[in-house]
Structure formats: C-alpha cells, structure tokens
Symmetry: C2
Subunit: 221 residues, 2 copies
DNA sequence: TTCAGATAAATTGCATGCATAAATAAGCGG
DNA sequence: CCGCTTATTTATGCATGCAATTTATCTGAA
C-alpha cells in the first residue's frame, strides 16, 4: 500500500474533480450531482459537498443554492474578462521577473525556452502535446520567478479556470511557432532586465492567445 | 419575520465569520472550533465546516487537516508578498481605469476624492472612521472602474485578507493627509488618461501603506 | 398538440452519530 | 524536577438520515 494519508478525502476530491474539469471530462455546464460524484469516487456526499464548495470559491464551478452545482459556464464577455485578467497578471509577473529573477532562474528560463524551439518546429499537426506541456512549465517559471506566491497562485488559478476553453488552441495552423516567437521577446526582455518590455510583450502574448481561442470557442451568449 | 431565505446557512455563516475576522473580533491565530462556532450561531457543525472550507480557499483562514482551522497567521515575508500583490493589482486596476473609465465614472471618482479632503484635514486623532470608510469606497471605485470583475474580485479579496493587519494604520500622525495627497496624484492621472502614471502612482501609494503598516504591526517571524 | 396545474420523484441542506487522529493529562523511570 | 511513555479526553472527518425544495412526470382541458 502507499503512504500518505496526510491528505483528507475532501482535498483529494477537490483535486480530482478539478482535474476532471480541466481535462475536459466535465465540460462547462455539466451538472455536478452530489450523490453521483459520491458514488463515482466511493465516498459519501459530505466530502463531496465540501469539495464542491471549495471549487465554488475558485470560480471553477458555480454553486446555485438549492439547485446544485454545475461546471462554470461563461459568457463571451466573461471569457474576455478572464483573459484580460490573466494577461495583466502574467504581464505583472513577467515584469517582476525582469526585476528580481536570480541569475540561475534566468538561465533556467532561457534554457527551457530554447528547448521549446524544436517542439515548436517539429510536425505540429501530429502532436502538440509536448509543446503544450512545456508551455505550462514555461508560464509556471514566470509565475515563480515573480517571487510572489500570491500573484503566482492567482495566475495559475486563472490559468486552470481558463483551461477548459483553451484545449484545442495549439492545433490551429502555425500557432506553435507564433507562440514560440512571442515567448522569445518576453524571455529576451526578462534576461536583460527590461521590465517594461517584459510586461508589454507578455500582455501582447496573452492577447494573441485570446484571439486564437476566440476564433474557435463557441460560447453561449 | 423577514423575507429572503434565498441564502443558505452556509453562505450566511461564511459571511458572518469573515466579518468577525475582518473586524478583528477573531484575531490572526484564533482557533476556529467547529462546535463552538456551531453553538455560537445556532446551527450544526455541517454548515460550519462548509463555510470554513470556503474561507480556507480565500486564504482568510488556514485549514490544517485533522488539526482544525485558525485565522490565518502570516509571516513577515508573506505580509510583504500580500502587499506587493495588492499593490500590483490595484496599480493594474488604476491603469485600466485611466484607459477605460467612462466620463461619468471619472467624474464620480473625482467627486469622491474631493469630498475626502475635508475628512483628511479634520481632527484626525478624534475619528479617522469616516475617512477609512471613504477610503474603502475610493478603492472600490478603482476596482470597478477597471471594468474587469475578475481583477476587481481579486483585489477586494486581497484587501479583505489584509484588513486584519491594517486596522490601526490611519491613526499614525499625518497619515490621512499623506493618503489624500497620494490619491490626488492617482486621480489626476486617471482623469487625464495617463495610464503609466496611474499605474506607478498607485503602486507607490500602496507601498506607502505597507510602510505605515510595517511600522506598527508586530508579526511573528 | 400544447399548456396549466397537480402529483410524484429526485436532490439539496442540514442535523446527528460514530470512528479515528490529535491534543491533553496521567503515570513512570531517570 | 524533568523528560518520555501511556491513557484519557477532545475534535475532526466522514457516513447516514430526514425535512424541504426543486425538478420531472402525469393528467386534463383549451
């Protein structure tokens, strides 16, 4: 048998349900039946309810009193706001990176970015998976490089919340190379400590992502 | 009898407990005994637990598995990070205000700010209460003026989370006039649409607040 | 057919009970 | 007197049960 029971059922559930949403198994609008989830994960309704309430405050799901919870459905306007917010947060993190990343962190970021060149240029139609993974790592490095756990948490929380809407984004033609080129500007600015450019180029990068998503995501009015 | 039972016990509890923390009735480190809270508010442990879990995800309280919940205690370093994060968020909101506030919103902000001049100059030792209230309204206007509900929520959530540590801040000598003068720069920049200055001056304003708080808040290492 | 109202089924909100891990107190050897 | 082990107590985590509300189903009339 494994080891750590240090985690409570509720916490584990919150993670599992969140993952299911992020991975798309539970698309926006899905009803989150308490008993159903309890059966599905082999627990009672109590920890399910606590997990749902936790996810509710993150915005991932929407709890409607006496009417059950659903995976958050988002209007077009709200989706835009989410992207703007994430863009501003990531841009802020990037600016802080330019100011306060350690030399080691700068080297690490640069190295990761360079390793992504191959992933971006290899046959993208076949498998953007590895680039997507590296991309998450890239943005995580930006978050942690800000040296501010609060901003980092907010940014990754937003990223999670948006993930149901970005799934297919990297499948569009040339998006990988575009993304890589945008990263290039951000990284260069951070490396040379140019806070303003780091900020503005990251803002632009995220807004490009937004454009790419908008072209393909049908969201109800 | 009143009317709306549209709100669930859990939600009401979450609000009441949060208020108690914000108002200082439950200082950082306080133990949040489930049964005690249940008795105190005349409910069972179940809604208390759900409310606590909700507050846990906002960061207001700290839930330690199997060891109960306490009002979040914060190290000096974390307090600094919180202030930096809030500063960056408010600065971002201020920048967005400069870009996208409507003429009516600009007028409203200016009017509120002007009304605060009297509150700042009147005998401050006696009663900073009214200025504190107006100050909350001022920053709320900045949040809503960003026209981004996500950023606004994050900023006000952070403000709530910091409120236990800012209570006595405005009692220090001359802090009111200082605050008013700092606001002046921010408002002027927003009114004339100077995004960069709005951002940098708000950042400076919040960091002054941080300084004022640090001088008086004893936080354990 | 479609829609209104009534009835039945399903689901949420909350209280309660119990097992188990922590915290606390008691006992014991040093 | 003090530290460490062991019992006792307390509190948390979770399951279960019930009342109330929502949602689905059924009936009948326009």
């Amino acid at each position: 048998m494994a080891e750590i029971d240090t985690q409570t059922r509720t916490e584990r559930l919150a993670g599992q349900i969140a993952d299911a949403i992020i991975e798309g198994a539970l698309p926006p609008g899905s009803r989150l039946d308490e008993q159903g989830l309890a059966d599905r994960y082999g627990v009672s309704r109590t920890p399910v309810r606590e997990a749902l309430r936790q996810l509710g405050t993150t915005g991932l799901i929407d709890i409607r009193p006496r009417r059950g919870a659903i995976v958050s459905e988002i209007t077009h306007a709200q989706l835009q706001e989410l992207f703007v917010a994430m863009g501003e947060l990531e841009a802020t993190c990037a600016r802080l990176c330019a100011i306060s990343m350690t030399p080691i962190e700068r080297r690490g970021l640069e190295a990761l970015h360079e390793s992504m060149q191959q992933l971006a240029t290899q046959d993208q139609a076949r498998d953007p998976e590895s680039y997507v993974l590296a991309n998450v790592a890239f943005h995580s490095k930006i978050y942690s490089g800000s040296h501010n756990a609060i901003l980092a948490d907010m940014a990754s929380s937003l990223r999670r919340r948006l993930s149901p809407y970005r799934r297919a984004q990297f499948r569009s033609a040339g998006r990988l190379q575009m993304s890589y080129a945008e990263h290039q500007v951000v990284v260069a600015a951070i490396i040379r400590g140019d806070a303003e450019t780091a900020h503005s180029s990251m803002l632009r990068h995220v807004s490009f992502v937004e454009d790419a998503v908008e072209k393909m995501t049908p969201v109800k009015p």
